[in-house]
């Protein structure tokens, strides 16, 4: 349904060109939850914003293709693109505290989407908003319509954001770290809600996170990104049971232990390289414990270890090319 092919989104900064998204291909089939994981700064948000054509300067989509039901989004006239945003593809963000406009009621902000895309009257839109609030589990929805964002807790605000995102029954919802700012109990509730919505409304979800626990709980398919590139992609079971890429292994080792202690999310040694000074060869090589000499000389391609499971690492070169998801 959504096919991102060889997407390159670069930031043209004074210090040079940063390839925030570097030849990324992601496929999101209908009725599925696809995870995109990786450390901070690996290009997850920029990928998401590219889909909506909302990358702002100095960023620019340089090349690639983004197909929504076969329809090319890159280069689409802004007027047509606006009909897709919030309607066919909606997005929710990491910061429920600041993602809602403080000077308008939450009811009005959710209704606005339906007035815009469905031509609903104000009264109709408000009625629908109450329904949506109920669907996302906001208690006393009629009363909450008139609340301002600052009167709601973070969890409730994120539910409002989800209600807003689901208002027009989009075919795809992009969730950019929707639970990072919430505490663990609320996080579990929100994830549960999203899974339910996917099942009941048939909306696919692109789930951006840096939490492998969230991936395990929610996703059908996963893309692991590192410094702008997809390093490994696989179905959820393959990813956890047949983990191939050294980076993914590192991520999995860093899942918070069931003891409830939430330490550092990532405990892979070393730092993410600057996009302006990428190491020669494999971009993970400076931190990779399994690196061989070749890793420091040339870049690995995506190799197919099994159907639907691609790995960008020389250790799997024997498996042959063709690891691209599409």
């Amino acid at each position: 349904m959504l096919q991102i092919r060889n997407l390159k989104t670069h930031f043209f900064t004074r210090g040079g060109v940063a390839a925030a998204v570097d030849d990324v291909s992601i496929r999101i089939p209908p009725r599925s939850i696809v995870g995109v994981v990786g450390e901070s700064g690996c290009g997850k948000s920029v990928t998401a914003l590219s889909v909506l054509q909302l990358v702002s300067r100095p960023g620019k989509i340089v090349s690639g293709s983004i197909l929504l039901d076969g329809e090319e989004l890159i280069g689409k006239p802004s007027k047509q693109m606006r009909r897709i945003r919030g309607n066919k593809i909606s997005m929710i963000f990491q910061e429920p505290m600041t993602s809602l406009n403080p000077v308008y009621t939450v009811g009005r902000q959710v209704a606005e989407t339906m007035i815009l895309h469905r031509g609903a009257s104000k009264a109709e839109a408000m009625d629908r908003t109450v329904e949506m609030f109920r669907a996302v589990g906001i208690p006393a929805p009629e009363k909450r319509l008139k609340s301002f964002p600052h009167q709601l807790s973070g969890g409730l605000r994120q539910r409002v954001m989800i209600a807003m995102a689901m208002a027009c029954k989009p075919s795809l919802m992009i969730a950019d770290e929707p639970t990072t700012a919430l505490d663990v109990t609320i996080e579990a509730q929100i994830l549960h809600l999203m899974k339910e919505l996917e099942r009941d409304m048939g909306t696919s979800i692109m789930m951006i996170t840096h939490n492998m626990g969230v991936v395990a709980e929610l996703c059908d398919y996963v893309y692991v990104m590192y410094a702008g590139k997809v390093m490994e992609h696989a179905g959820i079971f393959d990813l956890f049971d047949h983990t191939k890429h050294p980076y993914t292994q590192g991520l999995l080792n860093s899942i918070p232990k069931p003891s409830g202690v939430r330490g550092r999310l990532f405990n892979i040694e070393g730092m993410v390289p600057s996009l302006l000074r990428l190491p020669k060869g494999c971009r993970f090589s400076p931190r990779c414990e399994q690196a061989v000499r070749e890793c420091f000389e040339s870049e690995p391609g995506l190799y197919a270890v099994s159907p639907g499971h691609g790995v960008r690492c020389f250790l799997y070169r024997d498996c042959g090319d063709g690891g691209e998801a599409i």
């Binding site: 309607n87 009621t105 009167q151 954001m161």
Partner: protein
């Protein structure tokens, strides 16, 4: 909300009294004997003594201050030395002219400042932005007397389109309002621009875009209200400042407003008149502050709702 307003109002009373006291003390240490000032240099010392006694000028300062404040409460600010008329009467006579000038120039200031600020923000770092900002900031830096005289020369003397000075119809107010309005437009424009730019960086603007709103709608519906909140406060303060009298403009264009009275009072060392005028101006500025606070509270739900709940 009513309680919030009441509380803000009560807080402003001691401020006003404090300003009045400082003012009273300051004007009392200014050299020069009021009786001599009033009656001329060559009168008999005995007469001066008699007058001092009659006007209670030899009482302790605080006693006189108390008496003055009690009078002020009843609207009695004393009698002008020079004109021998009630200060309050003089102020009330001048105030309407100042009000007119204020309304017109505030209008000019907003008509220039707000759109200039919005356009500059939307087109920031472009030539349009720089020229608009340059134009509105020019108003701030142009000395009023100079700009005023220049306009009088061009539009009155040369072209004959407008009268030079006076206050008889709206025509007379055009030049002074433009000069005065332009001079505060720069602040409005700069503030509108910077607030709007700041607001446009917010996450909720990204949300609005992700909803599919067009860029003009994003600015007009989601950014502007947030951005204008602090600007409205500043505009209220500017209006209060203007109501306190525009000394330079009123002098250049011969408008007998509060600013002119103040200048006259200073030239003639007319202490009661000066004191009354400054106190009046202070009261207006404090009232403007109060109005700005209340307006802000009304417009910003974060404050309004808090107040309603408390």
């Amino acid at each position: 909300m009513a309680r919030y307003i009441l509380r803000r109002f009560l807080i402003s009373i001691p401020v006003l009294v404090g300003v009045a006291l400082i003012l009273f003390l300051l004007l009392n240490v200014v050299p020069g004997d009021p009786v001599t000032l009033m009656m001329g240099e060559h009168i008999k010392p005995a007469l001066i003594e008699a007058f001092r006694a009659r006007m209670h000028l030899d009482d302790p300062v605080l006693v006189r201050f108390g008496r003055y404040m009690l009078g002020a409460l009843r609207g009695d600010f004393g009698v002008s030395y020079k004109l021998q008329r009630e200060v309050s009467g003089l102020i009330w006579q001048a105030f309407p002219h100042t009000v007119k000038l204020t309304i017109y120039s505030a209008f000019v200031s907003w008509i220039i400042g707000i759109p200039a600020g919005i356009f500059s923000a939307v087109k920031h770092n472009t030539l349009i932005d720089r020229s608009l900002m340059g134009f509105s900031l020019m108003g701030v830096s142009l000395p009023i007397f100079w700009a005023g005289l220049l306009m009088q020369y061009v539009f009155a003397s040369r072209l004959g389109w407008l009268p030079v000075t006076g206050y008889y119809s709206i025509k007379y107010y055009i030049m002074p309002s433009v000069v005065l309005g332009w001079s505060s437009a720069g602040t409005v424009a700069r503030l509108t621009r910077s607030n709007l730019l700041e607001i446009m960086k917010n996450d909720f603007i990204r949300t609005a875009r992700a909803k599919g709103l067009s860029e003009p709608s994003v600015v007009a519906c989601h950014a502007l209200k947030n951005a204008m909140l602090p600007v409205i406060t500043v505009m209220a303060l500017q209006v209060a400042g203007l109501l306190g009298g525009a000394v330079m403009t009123e002098s250049v264009f011969g408008i007998p407003g509060i600013g002119r009275i103040a200048v006259d009072a200073i030239t003639h060392r007319d202490m009661p008149l000066l004191q009354g005028t400054i106190l009046f101006t202070t009261a207006i500025v404090i009232a403007g502050n109060l109005a700005a606070d209340i307006m802000y509270a009304f417009l910003d739900p974060r404050i309004r709702v808090e107040q309603a709940n408390s």
